[in-house]
């Protein structure tokens, strides 16, 4: 088993080298690299399965130990990395893209290896090494097409954000190591969370891990970076890289004993903000990948809601809250990895097939790319938490957690539930609205551009991984009872509670999960019956004269594709509800006179945190720095005066004491 752990780290790391070594035969080289990533993923899955299905934690080497929590994240890493690698065969083929593809494979493999390493780490130093290998490899992936200035900007922003996060983690682990006397996680276990150490650790964890996870005010790097990377890389980033932030947050909070209730409350607040504003910003986007990226912010918010609940459970010693909160968060980590990478791969296929991912230039792709459309639709339903798909199951666990909290004595838990439940409901409703928009505008109706009109279906190597992800989404959605025991094991590993204490709540949630399965079956049966009924009726019904006609234009004689409802107009009504957080800029033309000339309306949605807060601050700092530099005359006399002044000042300080 421990060999498998090492394989899960080493094989992906070596995959890019294989691609480079076999450069003479690019097709074979790419397949070999892909095979290595998949083999690594299989090893990772094997390890995770053994741990999650009841096996003992696996210590592979000094500093490497896979427990339930690690295993949960290994599942997500394995699934997404393998799917992305296979997708890359068709999307970014070495045979036609050449050296750039080799580089992408190299960094991709390293990013995957870094993630596997940090997930398996049982020592802070190993964790940080894995963390940074992942972060840097990701930076290199984001800047793949660095000839384009906007991609350079996105890559730089990513790099700056991830480095600030890493620095916070330095401080975090330095503090923990200090208190524990060792950098081994095992030694840090059981440190008290109350007191100054605890609050420092928590604040640093929020900063460091929150930046990586894209928790709301710290999400600013995420949309540009996800949009800039090649799509299978975006899938990896959004699907699992972002989740390492969640993993870190869980790992660190899991180490400390008796987390204060304020931690849980803080996470609930931040998670709620992320969930609602993330999806609100997503609604306002018209670039498909940016839109998906903002949805990542939303889903991270949902996950953090679950984590907050589980932490509240731990501070109150309430195993039911721990189990339900953690199960919701943990399962949503895996689920989001599955459906978000599915959606990013779908976005890649759209770009591949139609040449653009600008929503208002797409349309009608369902007829040109039927398989992609079906798979994307499944992903869209899953991310909107619609039953019978997996997104519903994890959100439902979080709901159950809030409901359980509501039943407890004391007003504070009821207040959390009264906050969390509507937030979840609102986020779910908005997500459904947003994906109705995405699917409707991109795949349905008629084509809005030549590229969309002549779009072509993705090759099999791109469809197969998407199909794999979609079926995983469906499987979890149909059989939620199956996922509870592994989640309970992971929850026990995280909370260090007795597994027996979690068994009761798990069993109760399991009963409900059977109900969900049952309703899903009923839904399928009803749909089957209705399909049959409809088919019978249509077969016997009299044929209408023209079988295929244009859409009813409500009397307008010559409707064109450009007159369809666009993505922006679709979302406008909802986005305007959020005018207190989303400051849309609009350049509206003046139209006057009886026969106005052609004109255009232009809107853009700046990211409130990045464009309206951070960049102005950065610019102001830059101006100040320039002024400070001007003050520092490049005249040697002044420079020597500085030496003199330093001398005098230090002498004064030395003798004035």
């Amino acid at each position: 088993m421990s060999a498998l752990v090492l394989a899960a780290i080493a094989l992906p790391a070596a995959s890019g080298l294989a691609a480079a070594a076999l450069g003479g035969r690019p097709g074979a080289a790419h397949r070999a690299a892909c095979l290595l990533v998949c083999a690594g993923a299989a090893s990772g899955l094997g390890v995770a399965a053994s741990v999650l299905l009841g096996g003992a934690p696996i210590s592979a080497a000094p500093g490497l130990k896979v427990d339930g929590l690690s295993a949960l994240f290994l599942v997500a890493i394995a699934a997404v990395s393998a799917a992305g690698a296979v997708y890359g065969l068709g999307y970014h083929p070495q045979a036609s893209v050449g050296a750039r593809s080799v580089r992408v494979q190299l960094w991709y493999g390293l990013a995957v290896a870094g993630m596997a390493l940090l997930a398996a780490a049982s020592n802070a130093t190993v964790f940080l090494v894995g963390w940074e290998v992942m972060a840097l490899a990701n930076f290199l992936l984001v800047q793949t097409e660095h000839e384009r200035p906007e991609i350079r900007g996105a890559a730089f922003l990513y790099l700056a954000a991830t480095h600030v996060g890493t620095l916070a983690l330095f401080a975090l682990f330095a503090l923990l190591g200090q208190a524990a006397g060792s950098f081994d996680f095992a030694a840090m276990e059981g440190l008290r969370a109350d007191g100054p150490l605890g609050s420092r650790v928590f604040a640093l964890a929020l900063l460091g891990f929150g930046l990586k996870a894209g928790l709301m005010p710290l999400h600013f790097w995420l949309p540009p970076a996800h949009a800039a990377a090649p799509s299978h890389v975006s899938a990896l980033m959004s699907g699992v890289v972002v989740k390492t932030g969640i993993y870190g947050l869980l790992r660190v909070t899991g180490l400390l004993d008796a987390p204060p209730a304020a931690w849980g409350a803080a996470l609930l607040g931040l998670g709620g903000i992320s969930a609602v504003l993330g999806v609100a910003f997503a609604l306002a986007q018209h670039d498909l990948k940016r839109l998906l990226a903002y949805h990542t912010v939303e889903n991270v918010g949902i996950i953090v809601l679950g984590v907050g609940l589980a932490l509240l459970g731990r501070s109150r010693g309430d195993p039911a809250l721990v189990l339900l909160g953690f199960a919701g968060a943990g399962l949503h980590v895996v689920n989001h990895a599955l459906f978000k990478s599915l959606l990013f791969l779908g976005a890649g296929s759209i770009q591949h097939g139609a040449g653009t991912r600008e929503l208002d230039r797409l349309g009608g792709l369902a007829r040109r790319m039927p398989r992609t459309a079906l798979l994307f639709l499944l992903g869209a339903a899953a991310i909107s938490a619609l039953p019978p798909l997996n997104g519903f199951v994890s959100e439902w666990f979080v709901y159950l957690g809030f409901l359980a909290a509501m039943g407890r004595p004391g007003g504070d838990l009821l207040a959390y539930a009264a906050f969390g439940v509507p937030v979840l409901a609102l986020a779910g409703g908005l997500a459904a609205a947003c994906f109705a928009k995405v699917v409707g505008v991109a795949f349905l109706g008629s084509a809005r551009s030549a590229g969309a009109r002549d779009a072509h279906e993705a090759p099999r190597s791109m469809l197969v991984p998407m199909g794999f992800l979609a079926s995983a989404c469906l499987a979890i959605g149909l059989a939620p009872p199956a996922v509870l025991p592994p989640l309970a094991r992971a929850a026990a590993a995280w909370s260090r509670l007795d597994p027996a204490a979690l068994a009761g709540p798990a069993a109760r949630a399991g009963e409900g999960a059977w109900g969900v399965s049952l309703v899903a079956a009923a839904l399928a049966a009803a749909a089957g019956v209705l399909v049959a009924l409809r088919r019978r009726r249509l077969a016997t019904a009299p044929r209408a004269a023209p079988d295929r006609v244009p859409t009813w234009g409500c009397g307008f004689a010559a409707p064109t594709a450009r007159m369809q409802y666009t993505a922006s107009s679709f979302a406008d009504l909802l986005v305007s509800r959020f005018s207190w957080a989303i400051f849309r800029r609009e350049a509206a033309p003046r139209i006057d006179g009886p026969f106005p000339g052609p004109s255009e309306l232009r809107t853009e949605v700046p990211d409130t945190v990045l464009d309206l807060v951070l960049l102005p601050i950065a610019r102001a700092y830059g101006r100040l720095a320039t002024r400070a530099r001007l003050l520092f005359l490049q005249r040697v006399q002044f420079q020597m005066l500085l030496v003199l002044l330093t001398l005098v000042a230090m002498l004064v300080l030395a003798f004035a004491r």
């Binding site: 040697v636 006399q637 020597m640 005066l641 003199l644």
Partner: protein
Amino acid sequence: MALPADLVFILVVVLDFFLLASSRLGAAIRAVAIQGALLAALPLLLAGEGHDLGHTILLAVGALALKSLLIPWMMFRAIREASIRREMEPIVGFVASMVLGGIGVALAFAFASRLPLPGGDAHPFLVPTSLSTVWTGLLLVVTRKKAVNQVLGFLVLENGVFVFGLLLSGFMPVMVEAGVLLDLFAAVFVMGIVMFHINREFSSLDTARLSALKD
């Protein structure tokens, strides 16, 4: 014995003031040369019981050769090459720099009277003279625009350090002699100035001309 030493110390400080007030480069270089010669005399004047005569003479001769002959000569060459005569507008005016120098000297004397001298047997003017000369040198270096003047300031600064070093010549003669090496620095400097001004004058550096200068 004490009287000539007193006189030398006072002259050194007076020369400091002169340098702060002088705009003519030639006069300033001469002043520095005279100061150097006075300093060269100091080891002989202060040599006491425990001093090694050989070292004392070496120090005096070395200081005289470098401080009052070689470097002033190179400085004169430099201003001739660059054909500059005077400092036109220093960053801090002559009057102001004199006032600052005066304050510095006063502070130096006040300061030195408070400092306990571990050796105990030093000339009472030695430390204040040293500190005020250091201060004058620093002022010159910082306030003057012409490179030649900065080098002069540096020379004055190191004259101050040299005076201080005389405190130690009793038990650490080698160290004080090494201090004179500081003058080598100034020698390099002077070459630097020459090159700097050739560059200014001809706006390009001619290697042939440089090799001619190096000799």
